[in-house]
C-alpha cells in the first residue's frame, strides 16, 4: 500500500529522517526510516534487529528447563504469560497434565500481567503524546503493586521464571491470595480515576480519534492479533477461541472496537483491564486446593518423545505462540517463537501513511511493542 512519490519537481521537498534507534519514543531500539513531505509521511520503513540476542538458537543448545528464564526476557514486561506459552508447548510435547490449582494460579498471574502491561502501555502512549509523566506515573504506581505481588510469589519483579512443566514453581499462600484480592479490589477504583483523567480529555481525543486507522480486512490479512485486532472490530480472543487453561470457567466479555483508530486501541486496553479484573475476582474466589505441580513432572532431564508441538496463548500483546520440534534429546531440535509485537508491527507503515510525523509516534505507541520480543 505504499503511495507513489510526488513528481520529480517536488522531490527536493522530500526529506528522509531516521527516527531511532535512540529516539526516546521508539519503545526501545526501534528505528524508522521516514520519508516526509513537510510533516506528512510518504513512506516508512521499520528497521529492527538492534536487540537481537539469538534467543531461538540459544534454546536449541539449552535444556528445556533452561529455556524458561530466557522466555522471561522476550517481552520483558509480561514474563508470566511468556512462561505460560512456553510451558504449554512443552506440556503438549511431553504429554504432561497440569493440576487444577496450578491452572488457576496461571490464570491469576497472567491476568495480573495483563493489568500491569495495559496500565503501562496506556501510560507510555500518553507519554508519547506529550503528557509527560502524570498518566505514566499513575499507571506505574498501580503496576508496582502487581510487581510486588510477583516478587513475593516468584522472587523477582519482572524476570519471574515462575512456571514449570506441569504446574508452577512454588505454591501461593493464602496470605498471598489475600494480598492479590486487595490489589485487584483496588484496581477498579484506579481505572475509574484513570479514565476520569484521560478518556474524556479533549486533547487526547483530538490526537487519537481518526488517527492511524487500521481497516478490518488489513488487520486480518496481516495477521494482527490482540487488542490491535479487536480495536478494528474483529472478535478474536484466544481465551475464548482456544479456551486454554481454565478460561472457559470464567465469565468475561471481549471488548470490540469500531473504528480501529488509536483511540479505539486505547479504549481496548482500558476495557480489557476491567474484564481482567472480573476474571481475577472469579479466579481468586474459586481457586481450589491441591497440588500446584504434576507430581510426575521432573525438574531435570526432560526428554520428550520425537514430535512437534505448537501452543499459543493470548498474551497482553496478542497471540504468543511457541513451536517446538523434539528429536528425543534433552534440548529442542527447533524452537520458534511467534511474537505478537513483531507481527503487529508489520502494519505500521499502512497506518502511518499520510499522517503527520508527530502521529507516527502515537501510532507506534498504540501498537504496544516491546523490542525484546520483536528482535528476540
Amino acid at each position: 500500500m505504499t503511495q507513489a512519490l510526488p513528481p520529480e519537481a517536488e522531490q527536493d521537498e522530500v526529506m528522509e529522517i531516521s527516527m531511532g534507534p535512540q529516539h526516546p519514543s521508539t519503545h526501545g531500539v526501534f528505528r524508522m526510516d521516514v520519508r516526509l513531505d513537510g510533516e506528512r509521511v510518504l513512506r516508512l520503513k521499520p528497521v529492527f534487529g538492534y536487540l537481537h540476542r539469538n534467543h531461538e538458537k540459544i534454546a536449541e543448545a539449552a535444556s528445556y528447563l533452561a529455556e524458561i528464564p530466557y522466555t522471561d526476557r522476550l517481552d520483558y514486561l509480561c514474563s508470566m504469560t511468556n512462561n505460560w506459552g512456553y510451558a504449554l508447548a512443552v506440556e503438549k510435547l511431553a504429554g504432561l497434565t497440569v493440576p487444577e490449582r496450578a491452572e488457576y494460579i496461571r490464570v491469576i498471574v497472567s491476568e495480573l500481567t495483563r493489568l500491569q502491561n495495559h496500565a503501562g502501555m496506556v501510560g507510555f502512549l500518553l507519554q508519547d503524546m506529550g503528557a509527560s509523566g502524570t498518566p505514566l506515573m499513575y499507571a506505574f504506581r498501580e503496576r508496582e503493586k502487581v510487581l510486588d505481588l510477583f516478587e513475593s510469589l516468584s522472587g523477582a519483579r519482572m524476570m519471574c521464571n515462575y512456571m514449570r512443566f506441569g504446574g508452577v514453581r512454588v505454591d501461593c499462600s493464602a496470605e498471598w491470595l489475600g494480598q492479590a484480592a486487595k490489589v485487584v479490589g483496588g484496581f477498579g477504583g484506579f481505572l475509574d480515576e484513570f479514565e476520569q483523567l484521560l478518556t474524556g480529555n479533549e486533547i487526547l481525543m483530538a490526537r487519537t480519534q481518526g488517527v492511524g486507522v487500521l481497516p478490518r480486512e488489513l488487520a486480518i490479512n496481516a495477521g494482527v492479533t490482540g487488542p490491535g485486532l479487536r480495536a478494528s472490530g474483529v472478535n478474536y480472543d484466544l481465551r475464548k477461541v482456544d479456551r486454554y487453561g481454565v478460561y472457559e470457567r470464567f465469565q468475561f466479555r471481549v471488548p470490540l472496537g469500531e473504528h480501529g483508530d488509536v483511540f479505539d486501541r486505547y479504549m481496548m486496553r482500558v476495557l480489557e483491564m476491567r474484564e481482567s479484573v472480573k476474571i481475577l475476582e472469579q479466579a481468586l474466589r474459586d481457586i481450589p486446593s491441591g497440588p500446584f505441580i504434576d507430581p510426575k513432572a521432573r525438574l531435570r532431564g526432560l526428554r520428550p518423545k520425537v514430535g512437534e508441538a505448537y501452543a499459543r496463548i493470548e498474551s497482553p500483546k496478542g497471540e504468543l505462540g511457541f513451536y517446538l520440534i523434539s528429536d528425543g534429546s534433552p534440548n529442542p531440535y527447533r524452537y520458534r517463537v511467534r511474537p505478537p509485537s513483531l507481527i503487529n508491527l508489520t502494519v505500521l507503515e499502512d497506518m502511518c501513511l499520510g499522517q503527520n510525523i508527530a502521529d507516527v509516534v502515537v501510532i507506534l505507541g498504540s501498537i504496544d511493542i516491546v523490542m525484546g520480543e520483536v528482535d528476540r
Binding site: L65, A66, I68, R73, E144, Q196, L197, L198, I203
Partner: protein, 188 residues
C-alpha cells in the same frame, strides 16, 4: 462543553497532589539510598554457597557434583572438582569444589541452580547492591566470596530454610541410626 474533560482531568491530578500530603497510598515515592523498603522473603538476586559451622572450608555443603554448572542457562558457573575428599554433614566422604566461580555480570538471577541442587548447597541471596568499579576481578566471585554461613540463609528465607533444616536433620538422624546399627551387624 469543550474543555470539560481537561478540567475533570485537572481535578483528578489535584486530588492526587493534595492527597499525597495526607494519604499514604498516594505518596509512594521512596527516597532510595536513605529510605528502603523491606525486601520480600522470596526475593532473589545472586546465589551464595552455604557452609555449616564457623569454618567455611570445612563446612561448605557443595560436593562439586557440577549439576548447577550444567543446568545454568547462561553458564556463568565454573567448578573444578577437588582431588581429595572430606566428610560431609552425615560423615560421608565427598568431593569439594577446588574452584567455584560465578560471574556476576553473566548471572541472570533465575534460581535454576538452587532448584537443581540436591545438596541444599546453593541458595539465592537478596542483596542487590553488587555494583563495583572493577569490572573484571570484582565481578567474578570466587568461593571465598560466595560462601555464607547457614545463619544467613535462615535469616533471609526463614520459611524455606526451616523446611530445609528439618529435612537435613531427618537425613542426619537416619544416617546415624544406620551407622549405629552397622557395627552390631558386623559383630554378628
Amino acid at each position: 462543553m469543550l474543555g470539560e474533560g481537561i478540567v475533570k482531568g485537572l481535578a483528578e491530578t489535584a486530588r492526587n497532589f493534595v492527597g499525597s500530603f495526607i494519604d499514604k497510598d498516594r505518596l509512594v515515592t521512596v527516597q532510595y539510598p536513605e529510605e528502603r523498603l523491606p525486601v520480600a522473603e522470596a526475593a532473589r538476586n545472586f546465589p551464595f554457597l552455604i557452609y555449616d559451622g564457623v569454618d567455611q572450608e570445612e563446612g561448605l555443603r557443595c560436593v562439586a557434583c557440577q549439576i548447577c554448572e550444567k543446568e545454568c542457562p547462561p553458564r556463568c558457573i565454573h567448578i573444578e572438582k577437588s582431588k581429595d575428599k572430606k566428610p560431609d554433614f552425615i560423615g560421608k566422604q565427598q568431593f569439594y569444589p577446588a574452584v567455584f566461580d560465578i560471574d556476576v555480570s553473566v548471572c541472570m538471577s533465575c534460581q535454576i541452580c538452587v532448584e537443581v541442587c540436591p545438596f541444599d548447597a546453593i541458595r539465592m541471596d537478596n542483596n542487590f547492591e553488587l555494583s563495583t568499579d572493577d569490572r573484571f576481578a570484582g565481578l567474578l566471585w570466587s568461593k571465598e566470596k560466595l560462601a555464607m554461613p547457614n545463619e544467613h540463609y535462615l535469616a533471609i528465607h526463614p520459611t524455606e530454610a526451616a523446611e530445609v533444616e528439618a529435612r537435613r536433620a531427618e537425613e542426619k538422624a537416619e544416617a546415624e541410626a544406620k551407622k549405629a546399627s552397622q557395627p552390631a551387624a558386623v559383630a554378628k
